[in-house]
């Protein structure tokens, strides 16, 4: 019995390398100039999948001998994908992730290296999203769409209470306008919705605007900083000024609010427009009362953009038809044709910046009274400040949501809430706290230039280096030469 167990243990020793079907680095890169043919399976969900499906006929026509199947099965997609990646079998040729999850998956070393074929597109995407797609200078994902933010407002309500949308330039202006509306409407109309469970989303937007971070360039917890505190103080003021309604976002009641005058405005991303059109289905091409203006800045003259949402496409390393898979991704994401088709079909806002130089964005949107909102959303898209997202992002975001929602639901009394949050994150994720001086992080404080490499830019520090066993003094479980990592 003991002999048997020992034999079994010897054969199956844990943790020597990651368990997934071993990835041969030499074949995990996408071949350059290979012939494009064969089947390509794509996993995607929702309207994203629909928009890809609309592209397949043209792609198959351009590349004879290919067949693209877009599977729209969203049931347990994360589970099935992770199981396939661990087992080394069953992953699709192309799959979609939310862009904030990309670093987590890239760190697993199970995605194909796209650098040989994608390097040339680097400058054509906003740095804020491109950053999430690379690790150690190699590219593993391509940004698909972005969610640039702006302020949606109800024209008639603003007009009725004498609020000029062009005069709202900072969040202070916004609060003042909101208080005017609430007072004059006798409390019937609120300025925005901001329930406790929706705080974290707005916090991320404001973090970008103030130049704060959750993780610094070294992957340390940096959520307790003057910038982040400033961002949170805006949220505190928004809620304390009485201009917010607590209706939970994306619920029935919230969606119904688009059609009445209970809420005057919504800071939101470009896809909120899509939600509105869906919820107000009976508008049928007539113009509604909604308009869009630029997002308020934190300080006068500060940035008026942020990014909220968006996806990327990746190729799992186990894909047997990388050339065709890449060709499809390239067509969908790196050509004006592909990106604009998706914009027209499903309102997916292109991350591919050359696609923005199109007259289509200058067209008036009838829903918004003929306002060319496309152009508005495209303004300064390349100036969106980047949030550092490490492979721990999703987990950290979950904790952040819980803690901030709890803080908001209990009166927002703790002045040191971010300190508490930072320490909790540090303990739960087992990461160090960043030192209090933001300058040492190498990140600009709140002005418009994007994150540019200085002494330690994020995409040249592998998260595996930060999180690798050597740093924890644990030699035994060695991660020696994995597909990514020490060859950087």
């Amino acid at each position: 019995m003991c002999l048997l167990t020992a034999a079994a243990l010897a054969l199956l020793t844990p943790g020597c390398t990651a368990v997934h079907g071993s990835v041969d680095p030499s074949t995990s890169a996408v071949p350059v100039n290979a012939s494009v043919r064969g089947d390509v399976t794509v996993w995607s969900w929702n309207i994203a999948a629909k928009s890809l499906q609309s592209l397949t006929p043209q792609f198959e026509h351009d590349h004879a001998g290919t067949k693209v199947t877009v599977e729209m099965n969203g049931t347990n997609i994360q589970s099935r994908l992770l199981l396939a990646l661990v087992a080394g079998v069953g992953a699709p040729d192309v799959t979609q992730f939310q862009f904030y999850e990309a670093p987590h998956y890239i760190a697993t070393g199970t995605l194909a290296d796209l650098t040989p074929v994608a390097k040339k597109y680097e400058t054509m995407f906003p740095k804020a999203v491109w950053q999430n797609c690379t690790m150690n200078g190699k590219i593993y994902a391509i940004p698909w769409d972005v969610g640039p933010c702006a302020l949606y407002y109800k024209r008639s309500v603003f007009a009725k209470y004498g609020v000029d949308p062009d005069k709202i330039r900072t969040w202070d202006d916004y609060i003042a306008a909101g208080q005017t509306i609430v007072k004059k409407s006798g409390g019937k109309t609120k300025m925005m919705t901001l329930g406790p469970n929706d705080i974290e989303d707005l916090f991320e937007v404001l973090l970008q605007q103030t130049g704060g971070q959750v993780f610094d360039d070294h992957g340390r917890i940096a959520v307790d900083s003057p910038q982040a505190r400033k961002a949170l103080s805006i949220i505190k003021r928004l809620r304390e000024s009485g201009i917010c309604s607590d209706v939970p976002a994306y619920g029935q009641e919230w969606l119904a609010g688009f059609s009445d005058t209970s809420v005057a405005s919504y800071p939101g991303a470009v896809w909120l427009g899509g939600l509105m059109k869906d919820a107000m289905g009976d508008y049928k091409g007539r113009s509604t009362d909604w308009g869009v203006t630029r997002l308020p800045a934190v300080d006068a003259g500060g940035i008026r953009v942020a990014d909220w949402g968006g996806s990327v496409l990746v190729i799992p390393a186990q894909c047997k038809n990388k050339a065709a898979a890449w060709a499809f991704i390239e067509y969908a994401l790196c050509t004006r044709e592909g990106q604009l088709a998706q914009y027209h079909k499903e309102s997916l806002f292109p991350a591919f910046m050359p696609a923005l130089k199109t007259k289509a964005l200058d067209e008036g949107d009838p829903f918004f009274g003929g306002q060319p909102i496309g152009r508005l959303f495209a303004t300064d898209i390349d100036k969106i400040p980047a949030l550092n997202r490490t492979s721990n992002w999703t987990e950290a975001q979950g904790y952040l949501k819980q803690d901030l929602s709890h803080w908001a639901a209990t009166g927002m009394t703790d002045p040191d809430v971010l300190g508490v949050v930072a320490r909790k994150l540090s303990k739960r994720l087992d990461l160090a706290l960043a030192p209090p001086n933001p300058q040492s992080w190498g990140h600009p404080t709140g002005h418009t230039s994007p994150v540019v490499s200085r002494h330690m830019p994020f995409d040249q520090v592998s998260s595996t280096q930060v999180l690798s066993p050597q740093n924890w003094g644990l030699g035994g479980l060695s991660w020696t030469t994995g597909p990514i990592g020490d060859r950087a």
Binding site: V19, N46, G74, T75, G88, G90
Partner: protein
């Protein structure tokens, strides 16, 4: 535990307090009520299966009709044609059959072999300890071993193969216990001794003497294993990764999409998945229940 029994004769009159005819009619009423209750329950228990059967032949709009359509008038086979087109139920059916058959065969063979060993080799050293160990393993909940078992399969490159579904659960302690018990109770020692004297090898004894006698126990164990294997969802979900390897339950489950649930196809596929087992049960019902009952009484 038993009611206290007095030694003196009971002081209760032997004649009942009420007249015989009243008592008899009360019994009749009670029994009628019992029949009614049982029948209602039987109907309730069968109803979902009935609903599955008729819904498979309804059009999607009939499935959602209010008031409900109890019996669709032209039996529509649209769900089946759609299922054939969208999924690959034939392949899934084959997979299910192969996996279940393999699982049942392996279990029956290995458990009866081990059961025979434990029942008829009392002098083998360590025999008691080993059997105790086997019984002890029944206490390990599978939830604890789930993740590492999956990782073992990854290392062995067995993920997405029939082996991954058949082998891990093949030899369960319960099966060995079941077979051993039955063999010990029903296979006479002298029969074995005689066969040994005749020079029959142990494996030969197993094949020719033991197996014929333990058929009922094999039937019961086999059916239990068949049900578990055919209906398995969780392990199949974890271990089977490509469409050509999916079993019927997985195909059914994954037909659900995020935007819509195609109930028509689900009912058609569900019928295909459920019918074989129900039919098998109805045919082998006697053996199965006799097996459980006999095994329990023998204790």
């Amino acid at each position: 535990m038993i009611a206290e029994r007095t030694t003196k004769p009971s002081t209760e009159p032997l004649t009942p307090a009420v007249s015989t005819s009243t008592r008899r009619s009360r019994i009749r009423v009670e029994r009628a009520l019992a029949y009614v209750g049982l029948t209602i329950c039987a109907v309730i228990f069968i109803f979902p299966l009935f609903w599955l059967l008729v819904s498979a032949f309804k059009t999607p709009s009939q499935i959602f009709a209010n008031p409900p359509v109890w019996m669709p008038h032209p039996l529509s086979t649209g769900n089946f044609t759609e299922l054939w087109r969208e999924a690959n139920p034939l392949r899934a059916f084959v997979n299910s059959v192969v996996i279940s058959a393999g699982s049942v065969f392996l279990t029956l063979f290995l458990c009866s072999l081990a059961g025979y060993a434990f029942a008829k080799f009392p002098e083998a050293p360590g025999h008691k300890w080993l059997y105790g160990f086997v019984l002890g393993t029944m206490m390990i909940p599978s939830a604890v071993t789930l993740i590492p078992s999956f990782l073992v399969l990854v290392k062995l490159h067995w993920v997405n193969t029939y082996l991954a579904m058949i082998v891990p659960g093949a030899v369960g302690a319960f099966g060995i216990f079941w077979m051993r018990q039955y063999i010990a109770a029903h296979v006479p020692d002298d029969l074995i001794a005689a066969a040994r004297i005749d020079g029959c090898g142990e494996f030969g004894i197993y094949l020719r003497v033991v197996l014929p006698i333990v058929r009922p126990a094999l039937a019961a164990l086999g059916i239990m294993q068949l049900i578990g294997s055919w209906n398995n969802l969780m392990w199949a979900f974890v271990v089977l990764r490509t469409k050509d390897m999916f079993t019927l339950p997985i195909v059914i489950y994954l037909l659900q999409g995020e935007m819509r649930t195609p109930y028509g196809m689900l009912m058609a596929g569900g019928l295909l998945t459920t019918l074989p087992l129900v039919i098998a049960f109805l045919i082998f019902q006697k053996q199965f229940i006799a097996g459980i009952t006999a095994g329990a009484v023998k204790e």
